[in-house]
Structures are given as C-alpha cells and as structure tokens.
C-alpha cells in the first residue's frame, strides 16, 4: 500500500488530533490494512503510545492496551490466571505466531471484522472498549452499531475474571473460522456471543434470557438456549460454508461452550 504521509505521535492527544482532525488512519498491526488499502493519505502509527499492556485496573477489571498483540494475549500469565485457557483457545488458531506477534487488539476491534475470533470472546465477557479520551462502549454494541465519526481506541476493559469457553469450526487448523461461539458466566449472569456468521459477533440475547441467572442450568435448559441462539441470529453463505450449515451446527458449539463453563 502507499502511505502518503506517516506520523508517529508520542501522545494520545496528538494521535487523536491526527485521526479526528486530519482524517488520519490509525494503524494497529497493519497486517490486514496492507491487503485492503491502496492509498492511505495519512497513516497514524500508534506504536509509540505505550498502549502495549495487560494489567489489573481499578475497579475490579483488567485493561488491555490497544496495541497489545495477540501473542501477548495468548501467553499472558495474568489472563491465564483469571480466565484459564480462554484467550489461548480463542486466538491460537489464527495463522501462526508470526502473525500473532504483529496483530493487535485495537486493530481487529476497530475493523469489526466478521472473521474475528477475539471479538466474539470479548462480547461474551462483556468487555468494554474505551475510546480516547474516555468514552466507554460495550464491545458488543460497538461491533453491532459502530461508532460515529473518527475514533481512537485506547484500550479494552475486561471483568477481573470469568469462567468462559470459546468454540469454533475451521476447515484447516489455521484457516479463518467458519463460525465461532463463546459463552461466559460473569458471576451473576450468562453471556453468549456468536461470530463469523460470516458477519461480525452478536450477543444471543434470547438465549441468554432463557438461561437465566443460575450458575448451573440443566442440560435441557442448555439445549434450549443453544437452539434459541441459532434461531435468533442471521447467517450468511460464503466461500467456506452456507448459511444453512452455520445454522445447523451452531447449537452444538453453543452447547459445548455452555457445558464447558458450567462443568
């Protein structure tokens, strides 16, 4: 791709100004950007802003900087301590570690890509995206509705911990997913998200309501919720699978995710 002007801001204010007022394009990992962009008038490099972190934040949450790479998510002892193997399971099928050492949380979130594994897990966890200088939006809402006007993602907030499971089906082990699903017990409620439909992640609200607020729903309830998830969402066809197939197998994925969380 051609970048006509390249800026490396040192502060978030500078970065925001470039993105908002000079219509710059924020550059995360650039891995996807470079394949889909011919000419970028102004590229805004975010790698000098110190947005590369995974840490505890008050009150009772974990914050992940926008420039954190997938590989860092995958190998984070903090995330493993709080969420078990969730993040490893979510991202470890993506192409290879060489790519995961480059692609960033902010980059894939900003693109609201349908094929994203991570965005589904974020939705299930009830993550929030924080736009600089401080606006907080549910990831699930952001993915569904987008954000008006130019924005700059600073970080993602996660709950301090959760029991969650991520499921997916792929044709080859490191292909894009055909479909994915994640389920989480937040401590007070269930959340179910489905992505790569092939469209982007959505919460399965009806299924979540069905499950209620009990930490140990019955097998029957789980089956009902799984079926409901397939019924309430829209699916599409693409080169990897048809809408019918996605709808057909989703209940199995949701059920497996719920069973894994419930135990």
């Amino acid at each position: 791709m051609e970048i006509l002007e390249f800026a490396s801001p040192r502060t978030l204010d500078e970065a925001l100004h470039l993105v908002r007022d000079r219509h710059g394009t924020a550059i995360g990992g650039a891995a996807w950007l470079r394949m889909n962009t011919k000419i970028m008038p102004l590229g805004v490099d975010l790698s000098e802003l110190g947005l590369d972190y995974i840490r505890e934040a008050a009150p009772d949450s974990i914050e992940i900087g926008a420039m954190t790479t997938y590989r860092e998510l995958e190998t984070s002892p903090l995330l493993e301590a709080r969420f078990g193997r969730l993040f490893s399971t979510t991202v470890s099928h993506i192409v290879g570690i060489q790519l995961r050492n480059i692609i960033t949380v902010g980059g894939t979130l900003a693109g609201r890509y349908g094929f994203s594994d991570l965005n589904t897990t974020f939705c299930a966890l009830g993550a929030k995206v924080i736009f600089y200088p401080g606006k907080s939006v549910d990831v699930a809402s952001f993915i569904q509705d987008g954000e008006e006007g130019p924005f700059l993602i600073e970080k993602v907030l996660l709950p301090a911990s959760a029991k969650a499971s991520y499921q997916q089906v792929r044709i080859t082990a490191n292909d894009f997913p055909i479909i994915n699903a994640a389920a989480a017990w937040t401590g007070s409620s269930w959340r179910i998200a489905v992505g790569s439909r092939p469209a982007a992640s959505r919460l399965c609200k009806k299924a979540m309501v069905l499950l209620g607020n009990e930490p140990y729903p019955s097998d029957e309830k789980i089956e009902q919720a799984a079926s409901a998830a397939a019924e309430e969402l829209q699916f599409g066809s693409d080169i990897r699978a048809s809408a019918e197939y996605r709808r057909e197998i989703l209940p199995a994925l949701v059920r497996r995710a719920l069973m894994e969380v419930r135990g």
Binding site: A173, E248, I249
Partner: protein
C-alpha cells in the same frame, strides 16, 4: 484439532535389506544442497535476476471469454521508465502447446503466446516492461482494453457440443490424432475395450456403479513462478526459469517465436517446488519477448494470486466406475468413463485423462473385460495441466471407491476383496499394451510387485480388524478406518529419455552432468549416489550439475515419475561406461590388458598385484603428465525404458468424525510402499509423506472455486487452504523390501504414488463411519454433515 500426535509414535526406521547390500545407494545420504538452502543462500530464480533487469508485468483479462477489440497503451507508454508494451500483434501467429511433453506433443497446439481472444479470467492480454516494479504496475493500470464480452462456458458438464465454441481459430491443430474436435469443445477423446464389458456386467451376479467428482486442485509450490531472460555475449536468448522441463521449454519457445533452437538457452536453478505446476511453459515467453524487443534483461515473478488464477490446475474429473463380480468377490468386469475439464487450453488433456485408466485399471488385471473412455472438454476456466498423480489420483478415487462399495455389497473385508483381484509379480495386464501416453502403450510383465507385503504390513500398522472398523470415542465422535491401494509408473516407456555425462577431473573427482531436473526432490543427490555406487567412490567424489541446455546433456525433465528410473538408469550406464574407459586407459598405461586391471576403493590394481595406481594420481597423469596419451576420460550415456514398472502402495487411514459438525480429521494415515530399491530411503519416504499430505488436502481441504461469472474466488492462500502442520495427526510411511530388475540398482520411481490414495481411502473410511459414501470433493465439514443429515432423513423415511 485435537492433539493426536503424542499418543502415536512415528514410523519405525526399519532397515531395508538394500541398505546392507550397497555402500551409497539405499543409504540416507543428506542432500547435497540441503545446508545451503536452509541457510538461504541465493539460489532461486528471483534471487539471481540481474540488477538492471526490466520488470515485466502482465495485463490480464477480467472476462472469462472475450475478444480483444483494441488495446490503447498510449498513456502507459508516456510514463517515464516504461520500456515497452507488447500485444498479440507483436507475436508470430504460431499455435503451440505449453505442455511440457516430448515431441510430438500429445496435447493440441491450441495456444498463441498472446491472442486476440481471451479464454479465462486472468488470461494474458499484454506484456508491459518498465525500469521498476511500481512503474510497471502503474503502466498496467493505464492500459485501456476494449473487449467484446462473450458468453463463457463454466460448467464442464455443459461443454460438450455446446453452441459456444471456445476455440474457433482455424490455425490450431493436434500433432497426431488425439480425438481433437474443438468445434465440439473437445480437446481430446479416447476409448478402448478389452473383451465385452456390457456382456460381462450383465452376466455378473453382483454389480456396483459409483460416480465421483474430483475437483481442480492447485499445486501451491511455495515459490511462485519466476523467470528472467537476457541476451548473452553471442546474442543468444538465455532464460533462467523455475521449470520442470528445460528442453521442452526451449523447443516450444523456438517454435512460438520461429527461432532456431541454437539461439536459445534454458537454465533451471534451484526451484521452490513444482509438483507438475511447472511442467509447462508458463511465463518464459513474456520475459523473452521483452528481452528480444529491448535487448535488455527482463524479469517476472508472479504474484501468488497470478499463480492461482493464471498458471495451471489439476483436471477436474467426473469418473464413473461400474464393476461386475461373482458373489465370492472375483471381479469380472470394470468400466471406467471419464469426463475431464481441461479449462481454456488443452495442455496435458489427453494424457492425464488416459492415465486415469492406464495407471489404475491394471491393478485388477484378472477381469474378463475392461473398458475405458470419455472426453476432455474445454471450459472458460484457467487451464488444467500436469499435477502429481496426473489422472491416476482421479481414476483411482473412482475405482477404489467402487471397490469398497462392492465389498460392502458382498459383505466382504475390503482388504480381502483387493487381495482376491489385484495383480502380482510375474503377471501382466492387457491395459499396459493398449494404453500409452496418447498412443499405444507397451506390454510389460510385472517383475516387482510387493502389494501383498504392503497390505500385510499396512494392516499391522493401522490395526485393521474388518469386524471393528468403526467405534465411538465420545458422544457424537466416531473413529473409522478405510483403505485403498494404488500403482503409478516409472517414466513413460519409449518416450522419456535421459542422458548423463561423467568426466574425471584432476584431484580424482568426477563431474556428473545430467539434464534431469531437481525440483527440490533431491534428484541431484540420488543421481550422484547412483554414480558413486557404481564407480565405487564416495559422494564427496561426485560433483553434480543439472538442467542447463547449454551444459548438460538432454533429459525430458522431472515428471511422470521418471527421474529415478530413467535419469538414474542413464547415470548408471554412464558410470559403467566410464569405469570401462578408466580401466582401458589405465591398463594401456600400465602395459597390461584391460581384463588384468581392477578398480576398487579408488585404486587401480593389476590382478597379479604387481602394479597399482591411485585414481587421484591417474587423474593428474591423464590431464598433465602423459604426453601424447593425455586425454579427458568421460562417458555420456542415455536411457529410455521399454517398460514403466509401477511402484505400489497400500494405504490405511484412521479418521475421526464429529457427527455434530461434519469435521473429519485424519488421525493416522498409514502407507506402505514398494518402490523397488529406494536409492535414498529418507528422500523416498519424504516424497511419499509429502504426496500423501497433498492427497489429504485434495480429499478434505482444497477447492478451486469460481463465481458465476468465472472469477476465481479461491485466488490466494486465505481462500485456498493447504494443510498446515496441525491438520493431520500422523502420517506413517514404510517401505518394503523389493527389487526391480530393470531399474538402476533395483529402483523404481516414487515421485507421484504418494498422492494417489487419500481421496479414496478417506471416502472409504467415512463410508465406514457413517454409512454414507461421499463422492463430491473436497469433503468439507458441510458436505459431510449434510450427507449425514440426509442419510438420517432417509433412514427415518424408511423406518
């Protein structure tokens, strides 16, 4: 996928008898170029291109079928740094084939270097050259082409006798009768019958009919097609290219450009894989045109997308097999009818189609009647060409699927059904005599065939128990086993020829020059092993150089599994001949008769022990010391076989199938092969392992997909996925002791047979798993699940 790997040990390294018999052959010698390649030393075509070469880019058709009305390059030519824009008007109007095959080629001459018509999305329209890549790309975007868009044929089932004619040009022709009828969109056709198939089928108490649809497949060699050209100091055109067939490239380019062959030199450096994808002329004409027009070097490296869209694929085929048998499982008749899709041009059309029969049907040689026939049709899709397996994989998929259906119908162990009918050493098949490479074949008695041993050992390795081929391992997850057998060939008899030249150098080492083409397979290494073994020297004493039409002797190139058997035999002959000449020269020097001299351990000795001379000393004598007797000791020999002894393979696969998603994983793929003496057991094994994974890719993962306008949807490695390291649990390959008398040190070739069995073996395993036979490839999770659901519905309907 689930981690199957730790629970399964890799195949044992059983030492073969041959390893004890020989000193160099049948030993696991490291490849001569291995270390250099791992360390990334510049060796591939793109690494070697001259710094000042013009960058070539191609204007390509956006339409599946169109006539070019005009090409306006005026804007492009104004760009500073643009050297030229060449179109069909700059090419002589000579039709050729791009197929890398011997002369006369069994493929129709139906392709002009650039034509007024474009016949698939991506077909070349114009050639642009500029001083740097960005300018060349910009120039391409500035070229305005006016097309008359024509309606394409995209479904090969609809091509035959379609009113749309893809090749109306009057100049195109076949080189000899191959059933070429372009007005009916037929690139080639063939049929043969031995006995009366319909009669036998009618008289057979048990019959089955199975039709499989195998898809086009992409080679995905990791090195994209690359070439560069320049004029040497004599004004000759030199092309350095990633190719499998230097001599065919030279000859066909000479034809296309009406140039005498002495004006052209083709050099193959290291190449990053071929698998048949480079057994064609591909981009050489374009760099050549630019060099000839401008006098400057020119380079072109295709993008991965161009490799997908505009080189070659495997032939898509519909294979219908009918079998007739007795209730005890003895086959009476086989009928195989094939429709093959050759895409826009007819490269390898007839031959891949015929190999579907000629390298499968002989497996069951005791039938009373056998018939093969069909058509190869044109469509407006990218041209299909050579790809490992070369028709045998498609034909075998049909045949071995049908055989398993027959086993089910008979309630018989599929293994026993094969054993009851398969061919053995000492036998022959009429098919060898009748079906050749576009012409009649060559009769052959099988002198080595260890299928029995392959099957016995394969059963052992997989744990084959016909009563327990399926088991549930978890709710909704089953494991099942399936099998298939295969044969291939070793070169094309009377057609493939290879030569080798060995020359003694001062210092007591030998230059070995071969035309044979190493694609990364290690043929340079195994050919050096053959020479070293015969001469009784070490690998260090042989320096091999290959594949340069100016400096190495002729070889048809690397295809048809010919290198070990054909080129290897040439090396063996040359080594024998050289040994003879050495002994003659030394005996003359020592004043004795040749029969009084032995050569062993690099030492010449008279039989009575009175005189001796080291090879090293002699090498200096013959080049520097011996006055008027000084001479270069060298020998050049050639080989063309009068038979093509098949390697054999018995495959046993265990799959795990998720009944809720349809996902099929290969847990363990066992393949036991008879390749005669493996010149290098490690390299033979890797050929088989690599081939198997490509076959598994075809069975489960890979698909060439088009839009309804003929645009390739699977045009990069995101949308066309080859198996990764995590996709298969284990591939277990073993070689059995075998010896082919007609092959060098008993060797047969091993390049292709690895790929043939997976589509059939996996279909058979799935059939055992869920009671449904899938016939539409690849077996994506969706296809498997939908078939399962349909079967459940049918069962409920019947209940």
């Amino acid at each position: 996928m689930r981690d199957y790997h730790t629970s399964m040990p890799p195949a044992g390294t059983k030492e073969l008898d041959a390893t004890q018999k020989f000193n160099v052959v049948a030993h696991n010698i490291s490849k001569v170029d291995g270390e250099g390649l791992v360390l990334g030393r510049p060796a591939y075509t793109d690494d070697l291109a001259p710094q000042n070469a013009l960058y070539v880019k191609l204007v390509r058709s956006p339409h599946a079928f169109a006539r070019i009305l005009s090409i306006d390059a005026s804007e492009a030519l104004k760009l500073p740094g643009v050297a030229c824009v060449l179109t069909w008007k700059d090419c002589p109007r000579i039709p050729i084939t791009r197929a890398g095959q011997g002369n006369p080629e069994p493929s129709p001459h139906d392709r002009f270097i650039l034509d007024e018509y474009v016949r698939y999305v991506g077909d070349e329209v114009a050639v642009v050259a500029a001083e740097d890549e960005a300018t060349a790309e910009k120039a391409v975007s500035l070229i305005k082409v006016d097309y008359q868009v024509l309606e394409p044929i995209l479904d090969f089932e609809k091509a035959l006798d379609n009113p749309i004619i893809i090749h109306p040009e009057p100049e195109i022709h076949e080189m000899f009768p191959i059933g070429f009828e372009p007005k009916r969109n037929i690139a080639a056709a063939y049929h043969m019958e031995i006995g009366d198939v319909e009669q036998e089928l009618a008289a057979s108490p048990v019959t089955v009919e199975t039709t499989v649809h195998t898809q086009a497949q992409q080679h995905v060699a990791l090195e994209p097609h690359t070439a560069f050209s320049y004029l040497d100091v004599q004004g000759r055109l030199v092309i350095v290219t990633s190719t499998q067939n230097p001599w065919h490239t030279r000859r066909l380019l000479g034809l296309a450009f009406q140039m005498p062959l002495r004006q052209i030199r083709i050099v193959k450096p290291r190449i990053g894989g071929g698998f048949g994808g480079k057994q064609h002329i591909h981009i050489e004409p374009y760099v050549a045109m630019v060099t000839m027009k401008t006098g400057k070097p020119a380079r072109l490296a295709l993008t991965r997308r161009e490799v997908f869209e505009a080189t070659f694929t495997r032939h898509e085929m519909r294979v219908k097999v009918r079998l007739g048998a007795d209730p005890n499982g003895v086959l009476r008749a086989i009928d195989m009818q094939v429709l093959s899709n050759t895409g826009a041009y007819g490269e390898h059309a007839l031959t891949t189609f015929m190999v579907a029969g000629s390298k499968t049907l002989p497996l069951y040689n005791k039938v009373k009647a056998v018939r093969f026939g069909g058509h190869v049709v044109y469509t407006n899709k990218v041209s299909a060409g050579a790809y490992r397996g070369y028709g045998a994989i498609q034909g075998l998929t049909g045949l071995e699927s049908a055989m398993d259906e027959l086993a089910h119908k008979l309630g018989m162990d599929p293994v026993e059904l094969r054993r009851k009918n398969m061919l053995h050493e000492g036998e022959t098949s009429e098919v060898f005599r009748i079906m050749g490479e576009g012409t009649e074949g060559v009769a052959m008695i099988i002198e080595s065939c260890k299928l029995e041993e392959c099957i016995r050992r394969g059963k052992e390795l997989i744990g084959w128990d016909p009563e327990h081929l399926v088991r549930e391992v978890a709710p909704g997850r089953v494991r099942a086993k399936g099998m298939a057998i295969a044969m291939q060939g070793s070169g094309i008899p009377l057609i493939d020829m290879g030569s080798a030249r060995i020359e003694l150098q001062d210092g007591g080492f030998f230059k070995l020059h071969v035309g044979a083409t190493d694609l990364g397979t290690g043929s340079d290494t195994i050919l050096a092993q053959i020479a070293a073994e015969e001469l009784g020297v070490d690998m260090n004493d042989i320096v091999i150089h290959s594949s340069d039409t100016d400096h190495t002797p002729f070889d048809v190139g690397a295809y048809a599994s010919s290198t070990t058997y054909v080129s290897g035999s040439a090396v063996l002959r040359a080594a024998r001949s050289l040994k003879q000449k050495l002994i003659e020269a030394v005996s003359q020097k020592l004043g004795v008769r040749p029969q009084d001299v032995t050569f062993e351990d690099k030492m010449f000795r008279t039989v009575d022990g009175s005189k001796e001379l080291s090879l090293n000393d002699f090498s200096y004598d013959t080049l520097y010391h011996d006055g008027t007797n000084m001479k270069t000791i060298e020998a050049t020999e050639s080989f063309s076989g009068d038979k093509s002894p098949p390697p054999y393979l018995a495959a046993f696969v265990e799959i795990e199938l998720d009944k809720e998603t349809g996902k099929v994983d290969v847990v363990n793929y066992v393949a036991v092969a008879d390749v005669g003496t493996p010149i290098n057991p490690n390299l033979a094994k890797i050929q088989l392992e690599g081939g198997l994974l490509q076959g598994i890719g075809m069975a489960l993962y890979e698909d060439v997909r088009y839009s309804d306008k003929g645009h390739m949807l699977s045009h990069n490695m995101m949308t066309y996925t080859i198996p990764s390291r995590e996709d298969v649990g284990r591939i277990t390959v073993e070689l059995v002791n075998s010896y082919e008398p007609s092959g060098p040190f008993g060797a047969k070739s091993a390049g292709e047979i690895g790929i043939d069995t997976p589509p059939a073996a996996i279909a058979n395993a799935i059939r055992n798993a869920i009671g449904v036979r899938l016939t539409q490839y690849p077996f994506t999770p969706e296809r498997v699940l939908m078939a399962l659901r349909q079967a459940e519905k049918d069962r409920k309907g019947q209940a």
